[in-house]
């Protein structure tokens, strides 16, 4: 049962309805049951890996917690803010245990992700959750969870288990203890967010994927401009795909009474690569920042070390995304972009002063957004290509300027006809408008809900029909085709 399946459209309303009826203090049990059912429907064997992860880390968390909190202070799921004191009280045994558990988790991550023994769906995501949990417990930032079901739900919460967002125990566990009431407004808002997610995924991402797939499979067969358009399309495809998924996940969690942190914040309007990473896959970026970059020393140990740490973090990010060299190159490119950006900063500052450039002006920011977008676009080519050779062919071809390909029919060769391309263009335009609203802090879903009934219904019914009619689904469609589900 995937998000994009008939089964999920039946499962979710049942889960929501019963969740609404169950007394608040027992809702976490119901949510755990639904999460187990959801995951079992995905893969029976993979459930064994998930269960093992839960058991090992639950027990590990308790044991580490004993060393971090020897005085056994009361309370479950309670966040404390005195890591400095607890750090001193940690036993050597606790540190060894912590290191051992991290190693076990990482080993399990790489073994089961490869699928050579059992392919465990979502392991890259739920394992980062558990590692984060262990680190937080070890550091004394949170108390170890003593309620097994509660912990198991934290790891397996079904809206997040396949592709995130990678949430923190500190955010989720208190909500499981006391989930908020799902009122009519919350229900509508969650459903609207899910609908937007389905539009992004089925109408835009999967339509873009047809064009992108054809070009990346045979980049030498298409004119340069068509290849260039395919690279831009992929940049939008991966955004629509992953943001679509995240919207569905966040919306589903919302109508279950759980607030999940947002994963995207208008990333393609970022004016620099560091800003892009503050807006793209926020749950992973912040996880890498908190659990890799800062422990490595962050920017506290000198400039050279800071640059090295950045490169390490992005290398880790690349490896997390996949074992292929292309992912490492993608990650390293982002690392180098940032290091080079920092190195060139004095030069850029001097240039701006020399030419009197108003850096806060719209025109300057627009240039920066475009440059950032193109840098990200180049890096995505490596992310999408099957091999480095293919990526280089795509990049080389995309530099060949053949604009007539737009007018001589070549643009239709990769599988999208005129009407589909028009639909795509309109869809991307709508997405851009929504993103600009969001960038300016406008709560677009709240605004829609605040409208009169005819407009609300028009938007909702129009959205559902758009997905049903113009969505790419049906025979031959791979419901597990979310790009980030493979990681």
């Amino acid at each position: 049962m995937q998000f994009v399946s008939f089964g999920f459209l039946v499962f979710l309303p049942v889960a929501v309805l019963i969740n609404f009826i169950v007394p608040r203090k027992y809702r976490y049990i119901w949510l755990f049951v639904t999460s187990v059912v959801f995951y079992l429907s995905l893969d029976l064997m993979a459930f064994a890996v998930l269960a093992g992860t839960i058991l090992v880390n639950f027990a590990g968390g308790l044991l580490i917690g004993r060393s971090a909190f020897p005085d056994k202070e009361k309370g479950l799921s309670e966040i404390v803010t005195a890591p400095d004191k607890t750090a001193d009280r940690r036993s050597h045994k606790g540190t060894v245990l912590f290191a051992l558990l991290i190693l076990i988790d990482l080993a399990a991550l790489f073994i089961f992700r490869s699928g050579s023994i059992i392919g465990a769906i979502g392991i890259s995501f739920y394992m980062l959750k558990t590692i984060g949990y262990l680190v937080d417990v070890y550091k004394g930032s949170i108390r170890p969870e003593k309620n097994f079901v509660m912990f198991a739900l934290f790891v397996s919460f079904f809206p997040q288990v396949v592709s995130g967002p990678i949430d923190r125990a500190g955010n989720l566990l208190p909500q499981f203890v006391y989930p908020v009431t799902v009122d009519f407004d919350r229900l509508r808002e969650g459903l609207l967010q899910m609908l937007w997610g389905y539009i992004l995924k089925l109408v835009l991402a999967d339509r873009l994927a047809i064009f992108v797939g054809a070009v990346f499979d045979a980049p030498g067969s298409y004119p340069g401009t068509v290849v260039f358009i395919a690279t831009v399309f992929y940049t939008f495809e991966i955004y629509c795909d992953f943001a679509g998924y995240s919207n569905i996940a966040i919306g589903a969690a919302k109508i279950l009474g759980i607030d999940v942190k947002k994963n995207f914040d208008v990333p393609y309007l970022a004016a620099s690569i560091p800003e892009f990473w503050r807006r793209w896959h926020i749950s992973l970026s912040s996880w890498l920042r908190d659990y890799v970059y800062i422990p490595l020393g962050g920017n506290r140990k000198g400039t050279a070390r800071k640059y090295l740490n950045i490169l390490i973090v992005f290398a880790v990010s690349g490896i997390w995304h996949g074992s292929g060299l292309t992912f490492l190159v993608w990650g390293m490119l982002h690392g180098f972009y940032q290091v080079i950006g920092y190195l060139l900063k004095p030069l850029r500052d001097r240039g701006a002063a020399l030419f009197g450039i108003e850096r806060s002006s719209f025109s300057h920011r627009a240039i920066k957004v475009i440059v950032t977008f193109m840098l990200v676009n180049i890096a995505w080519v490596f992310f999408r290509a099957d091999s480095l050779e293919t990526a280089l062919v795509v990049l080389r071809r995309s530099l060949e300027f053949t604009p007539w390909a737009i007018f001589d029919g070549s643009i239709f060769a990769p599988g999208l006809n005129y009407r589909n391309l028009c639909l795509l263009a309109m869809g991307l335009l709508v997405m851009a408008v929504v993103d600009i609203f969001e960038y300016r802090g406008v709560d677009i879903f709240g605004r829609v809900i605040a409208q009169g009934i005819w407009l609300r219904w028009l938007v909702a019914i129009g959205g559902v029909l758009l997905v049903l009619i113009c969505g790419i689904w049906g025979p031959g469609y791979d419901a597990a085709s979310f790009i980030y589900q493979q990681f």
């Binding site: 006809n417 639909l423 009934i453 219904w457 559902v464 029909l465 009619i469 049906g474 025979p475």
Partner: protein, 499 residues
């Protein structure tokens, strides 16, 4: 209290929203559904509801092209519906019959056995060596047969019997799965389905083909009575079809319609004959009988053209009429629709005889006798060495005079009176009585000949200063009123004919 009121209001609003949404989705499903199946069977439901169907014709595309219910009605006053399906193997035909019997109980079912040699059960698997395009085509063709039937237990049973893959089964049970993506090819007709005004098949399920196969294939006959080597899935389902009809007290006639039958096809026909003999039902193998002209009545090697269809329908109609007590509905006002359908069809044949793009086709349609015709071929024309041309002329004249001359040649066919007049070489025609008038013909010299009607001697129909280099002329006229309908000039060269 206020809280409950608000909750109640929210529930009512939610239900109202879901109803409107369901309505919009239902409308979308109707608009987006492929209309082919509804197009073919729209009249079936209407006529079945009025209990006006005497005969059902079932089978493959051979049936679709071979049987025209309009002709059957016009000739015998018997009502029928053509249920044939493109690529319909026997098991698909069986389920088609089962579905149809939910709506009507005909007096007779005529089942064709072409494709009976197919020995696979599932249309999505076919044979091990079938390629993907064949499988796709097989699935698409089944949609034509099945889409129109509503979802019920019988349809589920049928699809499970015909399709192996569960995902593909779903696309037959919930066809929106495949048709939702038709949004980029919608036409006016798709939207007219919402008001029930979408186009429908005017020929009661049949499809007429208007081409002509000039080079049909002829294959060796098998040994006398030689049957297929294996007992095929098709044979099993033929037996089930016959049993189904017998269980429902419906007369069955099994056929094999004319085509360029391969040796394997002929063996399948022998197998069908054997089964029919064992089950005591009549089998009509039309390949064995001189019903159609294989050189003029085929649209392609597998399918009959409109002329072949008329001949075959008239023939099978005779057998049906003799086999049972069928009421002649032609003068019954309740059956006026059927007569309108027949008139529409014959008007179309007439139009094609009057104005075809291709001389072979025009000659072929003229042989149907729906219009009067005057055909003139000048001496020296390459038509005299064209065997196909000669064969078509023979179908109109009924003689082989055209083959024996090098022209000039004239043929006057007057179907209103049934008279045919021919003249060649220096022969004259004096006082040929036709609906066009009392005609006189005289060849004078190569570039000049005379054809006039009594009382209108100044009007020479066969001479036009601007058309001297055209060696063939065809004049058509209304078979009853005698009004001129068309006058075509053709020039023969290199085995081709140019207008």
């Amino acid at each position: 209290m206020v809280k409950y009121k608000k909750t109640l209001k929210n529930i009512i609003m939610s239900i109202a929203f879901l109803l409107v949404l369901a309505l919009c989705i239902a409308a979308s499903v109707t608009v987006l559904r492929r209309k082919d199946s509804r197009y073919k069977y729209a009249d079936f439901f209407e006529k079945a509801k009025a209990d006006q169907i005497d005969v059902l014709f079932i089978g493959s595309s051979h049936v679709i092209n071979a049987i025209n219910p309009s002709v059957l009605f016009d000739e015998y006053g018997i009502t029928s519906y053509n249920m044939g399906g493109h690529g319909s193997v026997m098991q698909a035909t069986y389920w088609e019959l089962k579905e149809a019997l939910q709506y009507t109980k005909p007096k007779c079912v005529v089942v064709d056995t072409f494709l009976m040699q197919k020995n696979y059960q599932y249309l999505d698997l076919m044979y091990e060596d079938s390629d993907e395009s064949e499988r796709r085509s097989s699935i698409q063709q089944l949609h034509l047969n099945m889409d129109v039937w509503p979802l019920n237990d019988l349809k589920v049973e049928a699809i499970k019997d015909l399709i192996y893959d569960e995902d593909i089964q779903k696309e037959f049970l919930f066809d929106f799965l495949v048709y939702h993506s038709r949004w980029d090819e919608l036409s006016k007709n798709d939207f007219e389905a919402l008001t029930g005004k979408a186009e429908k098949n005017p020929y009661f399920g049949s499809e007429m083909r208007y081409g002509i196969e000039l080079t049909p294939g002829f294959f060796p006959d098998p040994e006398e009575g030689e049957m297929l080597d294996d007992v095929t899935v098709g044979m099993f389902y033929l037996k089930r079809i016959i049993e189904e009809c017998q269980d429902n007290d419906i007369e069955v006639i099994v056929t094999f319609y004319p085509c360029s039958a391969t040796t394997e096809d002929k063996k399948a026909a022998n197998s069908a004959a054997y089964i029919c003999d064992r089950m005591d039902v009549p089998f009509v193998d039309m390949n064995d009988r001189d019903i159609v002209d294989m050189y003029t009545d085929l649209n392609d090697t597998g399918h009959l053209s409109v002329t072949g269809s008329i001949k075959v329908t008239r023939y099978i109609g005779g057998i049906i009429a003799e086999s049972g007590d069928y009421e002649d509905h032609r003068d019954d006002p309740a059956y006026a629709d059927w007569q309108s359908g027949a008139d529409f069809f014959y008007d179309e044949v007439k139009d094609l005889a009057v104005d075809s793009d291709d001389i072979y086709q025009q000659l072929n349609y003229l042989s149907m006798g729906e219009t009067g015709a005057i055909i003139y071929v000048n001496d020296g024309s390459e038509a005299f060495v064209d065997e196909e041309f000669a064969r078509l002329i023979k179908n109109i004249s009924g003689t082989d005079k055209f083959e024996k001359t090098r022209g000039p040649y004239i043929l006057i066919s007057d179907p209103g009176s049934g008279a045919v007049y021919e003249a060649f070489g220096g022969d004259l025609l004096e006082g040929a009585d036709t609906a066009f008038g009392r005609l006189f013909y005289q060849p004078v010299e190569h570039m000049f000949r005379i054809l006039y009607a009594e009382g209108d001697e100044d009007n020479n129909y066969l001479y036009d200063d601007g058309k001297l280099d055209y060696d063939i002329q065809i004049i058509t006229y209304d078979r009853d009123l005698g009004d001129e309908l068309s006058h075509k000039y053709y020039r023969s060269y290199g085995g081709r004919y140019e207008r």
